[in-house]
């Protein structure tokens, strides 16, 4: 019976697009073309409506600086969502980290300790999220909602609802925003570094591969010998660390720590991830897509401001874009399966 081989060719014969998993997860897969096209379109709108202001280097720098803070958070959010969860507490954790890092006590130790403090606060809050979800078996939505409320409250309490200024002797923090290399402020490079690290972590390491597994089929991951709880815990901790880094960036940009920082950042970050093609149910997604989604959002904000339109219209436009993106995404999913 040497016919088995030809016969058994059937399964693969039915499988379309063998290399799709690579390209979807890799850089610039076909899925991202739509996002890039949308960005180009927005740029054209900018050039036409504001020929003198849009394409100036100062405007582009401000777009990137604006994107950097939420961008760092978006990287962490991408991991959490691919891993099958959601993190509503990112904005509040960032605010708490910024407040904690700018207290009189922390500031007395200098800028390095301030930065470390922000990151540790983020990591701690994220780890607590992860603990509640994986070991406390809480639904991610609820656990992080509770964290959002509680961390926001703690930030208000620590700061007495006052905006805390970064003191002049700690201006090294501000330098992240004022020092420019090749025309771009340092914080844009930090953003880029976080994105690059996130991409490598997601696509080139076991941790990343397991994140897809944990989000795509947790039972399969468990049976394959992956410690799903520990992994989930690490994912939320990672998201918290990103919030800490974002807190450093926002301190640099605004020279303040405040409980009002990061208001609604969670929604922008989640929206960017979804627009970028990551499945809200987990198991699939890309860092590049999320960042493109975020840039689209930021450029829209920028265009509205340049054209002097009000923020309500801006919110409506953003809502429409989310709907359009998700509809498009469903289209491309269907055609790929």
């Amino acid at each position: 019976m040497n016919d088995t081989r030809t016969l058994s060719a059937e399964p693969a014969g039915k499988a379309p697009a063998p290399a799709s998993s690579r390209s979807v997860r890799g850089l610039g897969g076909a899925r991202h073309l739509g996002l890039v096209a949308a960005l180009v379109l927005l740029a054209i709108v900018g050039l036409v409506t504001q020929p003198d202001n849009f394409a100036t280097s100062s405007n582009l720098v401000s777009v990137l600086a604006l994107a950097a803070t939420i961008g760092v958070i978006t990287v962490g959010m991408t991991f959490v969502i691919i891993g099958g969860g959601i993190d509503l507490s990112v904005g509040a954790i960032m605010a708490l980290a910024s407040v904690w890092a700018t207290t009189v006590a922390t500031q007395s130790y200098g800028p390095v300790v301030m930065a470390l403090c922000a990151i540790l606060v983020g990591a701690g809050a994220g780890a607590l999220n992860g603990f509640l979800i994986s070991y406390g078996r809480m639904v991610p939505f609820i656990a992080t909602l509770a964290m959002m409320v509680a961390a926001g409250g703690l930030a208000q309490r620590m700061s007495d609802r006052r905006t805390q200024l970064v003191r002049p002797e700690n201006d090294a923090i501000m330098a992240l925003s004022t020092t420019k290399v090749l025309g771009l402020p340092l914080l844009v490079y930090i953003f880029a570094a976080v994105v690059a690290a996130g991409w490598v972590l997601l696509n080139r390491t076991t941790f990343g591969r397991r994140t897809f597994a944990v989000g795509g089929n947790p039972e399969a991951a468990r049976l394959a010998g992956i410690d799903v709880r520990r992994h989930t815990m690490l994912l939320y901790t990672l998201s918290g660390v990103c919030c800490g880094i974002a807190a450093i960036l926002i301190m640099a940009r605004t020279t303040t720590g405040s409980s009002t920082h990061g208001n609604l950042y969670e929604l922008d970050a989640i929206a960017a991830v979804i627009i970028g093609g990551t499945l809200l149910t987990g198991g699939r997604g890309t860092i590049i897509g999320s960042i493109l989604g975020l840039l689209i959002f930021t450029v829209i904000t920028n265009l509205f401001i340049l054209n002097g339109l009000n923020t309500s219209d801006q919110l409506i436009a953003k809502g429409l874009i989310i709907v359009a993106a998700v509809l498009l995404q469903r289209r491309s999913l269907r055609s790929s399966s």
């Binding site: 019976m1 040497n2 016919d3 088995t4 081989r5 030809t6 016969l7 058994s8 060719a9 059937e10 399964p11 693969a12 014969g13 039915k14 499988a15 379309p16 697009a17 063998p18 290399a19 799709s20 998993s21 690579r22 080139r204 390491t205 076991t206 941790f207 990343g208 591969r209 397991r210 897809f212 597994a213 795509g216 089929n217 039972e219 399969a220 991951a221 468990r222 049976l223 394959a224 010998g225 992956i226 410690d227 198991g283 699939r284 399966s337």
Partner: protein, 503 residues
């Protein structure tokens, strides 16, 4: 070095209690190195639960496990894998979004300092797939795009990717066609020749005869027989050990040949073509008739069913009682029901109760102005549970806690609640035990006798030939033969199915 005669694995007095069910009630199992040890038992007997405690996926409440002379505690899947026990689970547990290679090495990735080595991973995966006779599956393919048989191969490759001394296979052949099973057996023989022990679970007795060495039979969570010789033990004895009853005929009586001739056609298919898979297939199903589609996995049988159900783009004419079928909603409205091939992915809501799954497509029957009459819903579900002898007979239990065969019964029960004019059954007895199979066959025949048309796809030829009135042989998407089932025998059909494919 261990003596070959000493058992490699000894499980003693294993007890596993789930809320409301004692799945294992003192089970013993002894497996020697280099043997194929078959585990038999009805649906829900506890086979999968037993091997899950062996895989470290469940913790037993009582009992001891001795492996290679050492008493061990399998605290988790990792512990079992480290000892050299790998498992192919009954419900394929793969991650759809990951590639074939990533799935195979999930949990023990080929990596350096946490960085995955994609090249190595793909090469090693290709080698394993090649060993399994499936070099044509590309390691980079996304697993979600593979058909069930392909996924089964990936699960198998995953089990082989570990250094193992014992491989447990929980119904590995359920998703495989005839020729694929030969392939599987070749691998099993290679493994046992190398001294690896294999625990093999299957509901197909002819497989046990071919590949097995010894048999352990479970019934209701207890061991009722150990170490029976797999080849010599009479079928009667095995069945009566498993079921506690004697069985004469598996297949129900068929109406006389030609008795359907005058009856109206329920389904008429003309020139059905699904691009690339099915070419110009025409047939009809009359009232009260069971028509079987025989063919290899991938020959287009499932696609024909899907096309009839309106779930697949196609050209040609499909009519139900003379009305054209356009899309799924018109198929459902006209009275077609489909029991799909992959119950977990395509049919069941795993988190819902048994009752919720059974009444899912018939909710309209119990609602008034959108208000559900839950009492009647539950009563109907209960009636079907009793009729099909679904176990445990508790409508409110989540369906995910049922054994595979019982889940399959729930899928069928759905179309018993919501009576149809035409039933499309894709592998209706996959994973169903001999006793329950006979019950299901009787139910299907009874439905036909009540005037329903049935279109049946099964990879098990005896099933198609024993149950159907008329058989359509499908090869590479074409209908190559059509005749009364009683005029065919297994060899003839196999010849027709395989013909030309040796090239």
């Amino acid at each position: 070095m261990q003596d070959m005669r000493d058992p490699l694995l000894v499980m003693r007095g294993i007890v596993k209690q789930f809320p409301g069910v004692r799945a294992l009630d003192g089970v013993d199992l002894e497996v020697r190195a280099g043997e194929v040890h078959c585990l038999l038992g009805q649906n829900g007997a506890g086979k999968s639960t037993l091997i899950k405690t062996l895989a470290g996926a469940h913790q037993p409440d009582e009992g001891t496990i001795t492996f290679a002379g050492q008493e061990v505690r399998l605290t988790g899947p990792i512990a079992a894998i480290k000892l050299g026990i790998s498992t192919i689970y009954q419900e394929l547990d793969l991650v759809d979004g990951l590639s074939v290679a990533d799935n195979i090495f999930l949990g023990h990735e080929k990596a350096a300092f946490g960085f995955t080595r994609t090249g190595d991973t793909n090469r090693a995966a290709a080698e394993l797939l090649g060993r399994l006779g499936h070099g044509e599956i590309a390691p980079t393919t996304e697993v979600g795009t593979l058909p069930p048989a392909g996924k089964q191969v990936v699960s198998m490759a995953r089990a082989l990717s570990h250094d193992t001394r014992l491989i447990v296979m929980d119904e590995p052949s359920a998703a495989l066609a005839h020729d694929e099973v030969d392939n599987l057996f070749r691998i099993v023989r290679e493994l046992t020749a190398a001294g690896v022990a294999v625990v093999y679970i299957s509901h197909r007795l002819e497989e046990i005869r071919e590949i097995g060495d010894r048999i352990t039979v479970l019934k209701d969570g207890r061991t009722v027989a150990v170490g029976l010789p797999a080849r010599e033990t009479p079928t009667r004895e095995i069945i009566s050990l498993m079921t506690g009853r004697d069985m004469e005929n598996v297949f129900p009586e068929r109406p006389a040949p030609g008795s359907h001739d005058g009856r109206p056609e329920v389904l008429r298919v003309e020139g059905l073509t699904v691009p690339g898979v099915v070419t110009d297939v025409s047939f009809s199903v009359r009232e009260g008739e069971i028509v079987g589609l025989a063919g290899l996995v991938g020959s287009g049988r499932s696609e024909i069913l899907e096309a009839v159900y309106g779930a697949r783009g196609c050209s040609g004419r499909i009519e139900l009682n003379g009305a054209p079928v356009r899309g799924i909603s018109s198929a459902v409205r006209l009275g077609i029901g489909l029991a799909p091939e992959e119950r977990k992915a395509q049919a069941l809501l795993m988190d819902q109760s048994v009752a919720g799954n059974i009444t899912l497509s018939g909710l309209g029957l119990y609602s008034r102005l959108g208000w559900l009459d839950r009492k009647r819903e539950l009563a109907d579900a209960k009636a079907q549970i009793d009729e099909l002898d679904l176990r445990p007979a508790d409508p409110s239990r989540p369906i995910r806690t049922l054994s595979g065969g019982n889940q399959q019964k729930a899928v069928l029960a759905r179309w018993l609640v919501n009576r149809r004019k035409l039933l499309l059954l894709d592998e209706p007895t996959r994973g169903v035990d001999v006793g329950a199979r006979a019950d299901l066959y009787a139910v299907i025949r009874r439905l036909a006798d009540e005037g329903i048309g049935v279109l049946l796809v099964s990879s098990e030829l005896p099933e198609v030939l024993g149950l159907a009135d008329r058989v359509l042989v499908i090869r590479e998407g074409r209908a190559v033969h059509q005749s009364d089932a009683r005029d065919l025998d297994e060899h003839r059909v196999l010849d027709m199915i395989m013909e030309g494919s040796a090239l």
